[in-house]
């Protein structure tokens, strides 16, 4: 998969997992908080994305559940590949932001 640009909600999911392992519901809550309420992941999108990210090897499922948590919840954590993707994407976005700022400034002065 050479496609570098990450779908926005994938980016947010990885961002949520960068903080540590989580189950799906917690990821959804995190994403909503991280985006200031702008991004709401609906069930099929969330779990579809999780399956997809797992298939790409960017996240993985924890083999066993942490204690005192519900049995049926699956826990996820980011893999090294996922972490690299996230870093790349963050850098790409940073470059983009710098570029945009520079362009807007020149547009203003003109």
């Amino acid at each position: 998969m050479t496609d570098v640009s990450l779908k926005p909600h994938w980016f947010y999911i990885l961002l949520a997992l960068a903080d540590g392992e989580r189950h799906g519901l917690a990821i959804a809550r995190d994403v909503q908080a991280l985006s200031g309420g702008a991004v709401k992941l609906w069930p099929a999108t969330l779990y579809g994305s999780l399956d997809e990210l797992r298939a790409r090897g960017w996240i993985e499922e924890l083999p066993e559940h942490p204690e005192q948590e519900s049995e049926r919840r699956r826990y996820y954590r980011m893999t090294r590949a996922g972490s690299a993707m996230l870093t790349d994407e963050a850098e790409r976005l940073g470059r983009l932001a710098r570029l945009a700022k520079a362009r807007v400034r020149t547009a203003d002065t003109r």
């Binding site: 189950h23 799906g24 519901l25 959804a28 709401k40 609906w42 069930p43 099929a44 999108t45 969330l46 779990y47 579809g48 999780l50 399956d51 049926r72 919840r73 699956r74």
Partner: protein, 877 residues
């Protein structure tokens, strides 16, 4: 957890669903519970639905995994590709797809809502074991014109002894009890029951025991059964309440048990005490209602006959002329009679609406099908089979119907809530109106039927006929297939016929409602407050004590600031009470039918007529003097009484009457007052009269107060007055007379309102259908119109040629609808309240509105077509 969301999960790809179903449900539930208000909740549902559909569509793009695991893989793959193809076809025609989905949703929502109500009232069984074996028992007196007399306890004792086909029978009387404790005085509804009552209903106490036969005898012990609700409220659901005492009407009674919620039948009963009737009582009191439980396999008719057989000893001994006859009939019949005709009308309206929606769907689908003849022709020519094409069209229709069904179901849930809110106090308490499996099955059956009937026909149409012409025909070239056009116009004509019929019926109902609202109630409803004051027979057992209380109360109320009249009445208008008697009337006209009319008997104090605003026609009303000297023997009668007994135009003043079979004194008519709509604005008036209050002291009376300001604002001061006189007495059934009138017409208002809404929807759908078909046909004729304009036709010519045909169809449809409406309105019968079924104003209004709007619906696309630059249309070929 949401069961509906669980069902919707089927829309998502199977793998996703199986792996994450529970977690998805959890997330959805969290979102739903975070949503505030119905609009937000609808939003969550919409989001979730789109989300699931998107996941499904996305899975087709990736298409890595096999779609399904079926026996014939080839077929399943083809079905998969059909679904994808159909999805694309539907997306391509966004406008038509949205239209069809909305129309289906509308029809289904109406269905779901109305079926839920009908289901709750008529189909769902009572919450008792073997509810079909329950019958209501009562007596009637045909010679007295009375359908329901009530049950006399000694007669009941004989039935109980002699009946053979019942497992058990019971009689009960509802009564109000004052419950007073430290927190204040309230009144609760209770019932006096025979010990068989729980056995008949098939309910068991949840705590303690029910009454024994020994407790249900005259002078038996003072015991009581509490409802679960009262037990919670007064004792905090403490099990040790059994055995303790509770003060009712100033008398302490021992609690022997607590009954389950469903025992509160037929009304919201809070406590039960044993009837303790005396089979040997010397007087007759037809105060009881009855319920019986049939033995297995016995019909209501057999039970009815059995009861009459058991009644024989009563006829032989006391009632040789068979005046009173007992009867038994299915329990539900007693409680739903008021609703039956209303529900039937609404059901018919919904059926018509659904029919119009379906016709619309069919029209849109047919238009689509005709437009796709070329595509179908090419696919056939390329070797596709007709079966394959049909299946593909069917899949398209199923997808459309599913979307419409889901949307309609959501809207229907909302509509049910709205409906229940519209008729709150009119519904019997046991009628649970919810969406159950049956409603879901019903609405999906409707969807399936719509798809099969209205989806297949156009599909067949599209692939039938001459192939070659279909292939060579250009899509927007010459006029479309004439057969398709005829069918389209037939559908539009039919829609207009149905819409016209429905509009006429709705307008007639609205007119009837308006008439009912303007019926003169016979009293002045504004600024009048009425409330009942029940005295405890425990604290004031003697009639003199009761009279003394009433004498104290009135001056206190009259002294309140703003009050300009106050009076007492035994039975206020629209309160649902009735006391009928027979009278011997001097110089009465002979009755042609030999039936003696029942006279509504009330006891009124001085000041009542002024407070209620009942008009005095002749003579005078009661004064304080009548109250002080009951020996004056004055009586006030109403105009219907005068007309019934002495004929039209009689004066009545000074004539005399007395209760039938009484050897007492005669009463002289001192005044004649206007009729009061005692039983409801739509009900006929019976002859009525008023005696001075002191003749018959009452433990419960209704106070009527007329005030200069909003009478409801007086309530706190009134409570103070009452509390000063006796802190144990509650104030119940408080309402303004305006409110009483509104409540008495609530069912009719809900019915008219709903019919109006349905008719408006039908109208909108019909206009939409006409517009859609006209637009489609004009598009088909663009080239022809271009040629005409190029050859010199002016805008008017084009307009005329396009509109004329459409308008002819609409006129035909409306005419047929109006004829049909006269018959349909006949079915509304009494609900029309005397409005003629062929009311000229209504018929004219409906035709004008429909034809005018149809003209616009046809004219707009025609105008657009006529304005087209002919060169452009011709060049595109």
């Amino acid at each position: 957890m949401s069961r509906t969301y669980r069902a919707l999960l089927r829309l998502a790809p199977r793998e996703l669903r199986e792996r994450h179903g529970a977690a998805m449900d959890e997330l959805f539930a969290e979102r739903l519970s975070a949503a505030r208000g119905p609009a937000a909740r609808m939003g969550v549902w919409a989001h979730a639905l789109t989300d699931l559909l998107q996941a499904r569509v996305a899975s087709w793009h990736t298409a890595g995994a096999p779609l399904t695991v079926q026996i014939d893989e080839r077929t399943s793959l083809m079905a998969g590709s059909d679904i994808r193809y159909a999805w694309r076809a539907l997306l391509r025609q966004k406008g038509a797809t949205t239209l069809v989905v909305c129309m289906l949703a509308l029809g289904i929502a109406g269905d779901v809502a109305v079926f839920s109500v009908v289901n709750g009232l008529f189909l769902r069984p009572f919450p008792f074991p073997h509810p079909e074996r329950l019958v209501s028992i009562n007596t009637r007196a045909p010679k007295w014109n009375l359908d329901i007399v009530g049950i006399n306890y000694p007669d009941f004792a004989i039935w109980r002894r002699d009946q053979k086909l019942f497992e058990a029978i019971t009689t009960y009387q509802e009564a109000n009890f004052n419950v007073a404790d430290a927190s204040g005085a309230t009144q609760v509804l209770g019932a006096l029951i025979t010990y068989e009552f729980p056995t008949v209903l098939g309910v068991e106490p949840v705590l303690g025991r029910s009454f024994t036969a020994a407790e249900d005898t005259p002078k038996g012990p003072l015991v009581v059964l509490l409802s679960t609700a009262l037990w919670r409220e007064r004792f905090g659901a403490d099990p040790s309440a059994v055995g303790r005492a509770i003060r009712l009407d100033g008398i302490a009674r021992t609690i022997v048990g607590v009954m389950p919620p469903e025992a509160s039948f037929p009304d919201d009963i809070k406590l039960w005490i044993p009837l303790q009737g005396d089979p040997a009582q010397s007087y007759q009191s037809y105060d009881g209602d009855g319920i019986g439980r049939l033995r297995a396999g016995v019909t209501a008719e057999q039970a009815d006959a059995d009861l009459r057989r058991a009644h024989q000893p009563v006829w032989d001994a006391a009632d040789k002329t068979h005046l009173v006859t007992p009867f038994a009939r299915a329990l539900r019949e007693t409680y739903v009679r008021n609703f039956r005709s209303a529900a039937r009308t609404i059901m018919a309206a919904v059926a018509v609406l659904l029919l119009i929606a379906c016709a619309n769907v069919a029209a849109v689908m047919l238009a689509r099908a005709v437009a796709r003849r070329r595509e179908m022709g090419i696919r056939l020519a390329l070797g596709s089979t007709r079966a394959r094409l049909l299946r593909q069209l069917l899949i398209e229709n199923v997808m459309l119907a599913l979307a419409g069904g889901v949307a309609g179901f959501m809207a229907g849930r909302w509509a049910v809530a709205a409906l229940v809110a519209l008729i709150p106090n009119q519904l019997p308490p046991w009628a649970a109106i919810t969406i159950d499996a049956r409603v879901i099955a019903f609405s999906f059956a409707t969807v399936a039927a719509t798809v099969v009937v209205f989806g297949w026909a156009p599909a067949l149409h599209a692939i039938g006929g001459d192939l070659r012409s279909a292939v060579t025909a250009t899509t927007n070239g010459t006029t479309g297939a004439p057969r398709g056009r005829r069918t389209l116009w037939a559908l539009v004509g039919g829609e207009f016929a149905l819409a016209a019929a429905m509009l006429v019926c709705a307008m007639l109902m609205l007119k009837a409602f308006d008439r009912v609202r303007h019926v003169d109630p016979g009293f002045r409803p504004d600024h009048v407050l009425a409330f009942a004051v029940p005295l405890s027979e425990g604290t004031r057992p003697k009639p003199e004590q009761q009279t003394a209380f009433w004498r104290d109360l009135l001056p206190n109320l009259r002294a309140l600031p703003g009050v300009d009249a106050a009076g007492l009445i035994s039975c206020a208008p629209l309160a649902g009470c009735h006391r009928g008697n027979f009278f011997t009337v001097e110089t009465a006209l002979p009755r042609p039918d030999g039936k003696d009319p029942v006279v509504l008997t009330r006891y009124a104090s001085a000041g009542y007529f002024e407070a209620m605003g009942i008009r005095l026609k002749r003579g005078r009303v009661f004064t304080q003097a009548d109250e002080r000297s009951a020996s004056a023997h004055a009586v006030v009668v109403d105009e219907t009484f005068v007309r019934t007994f002495w004929g039209q135009g009689a004066d009545g003043l000074g004539r005399r009457l007395k209760p039938r079979d009484s050897n007492g004194d005669w009463f002289t008519v001192v005044g004649v007052v206007g009729d009061v709509k005692h039983y409801g604005l739509e009900q006929p008036t019976r002859p009525g009269l008023y005696f001075p209050l002191d003749l018959n002291p009452q433990p419960t009376l209704t106070v009527a107060i007329h005030a200069a300001q909003d009478p409801a604002t007086l309530l706190p001061t009134i409570r103070d007055v009452l509390h000063r006189l006796d802190p144990e007495i509650p104030l119940v059934r408080v309402r303004t007379m305006d409110e009483a009138i509104r409540r008495s017409t609530a069912l009719r208002s809900a019915q008219s309102w709903m019919l109006g809404v349905f008719a408006t929807l039908a109208f909108v759908l019909a206009i939409g259908g006409a517009y859609g078909v006209a637009t489609y046909l004009v598009t088909q004729r663009t080239r022809e119109i271009g040629i005409r304009v190029a050859l010199g036709a002016c805008t008017e010519d084009v307009l005329r040629s396009v509109v004329a045909h459409g308008l002819g169809v609409v006129l035909g449809g409306v005419a047929a609808g109006l004829v049909a409406s006269v018959f349909l309105a006949g079915l509304l019968g009494d609900a029309l309240f005397g409005v003629s079924t062929h009311d000229a104003g209504v018929l004219t209004f409906v035709s004008v509105v429909l034809v005018t709007t149809a003209l616009v619906a046809n004219g707009v696309p025609a105008r657009r077509a006529a304005r087209i630059d002919p060169m452009r249309t011709l060049r595109t070929e």
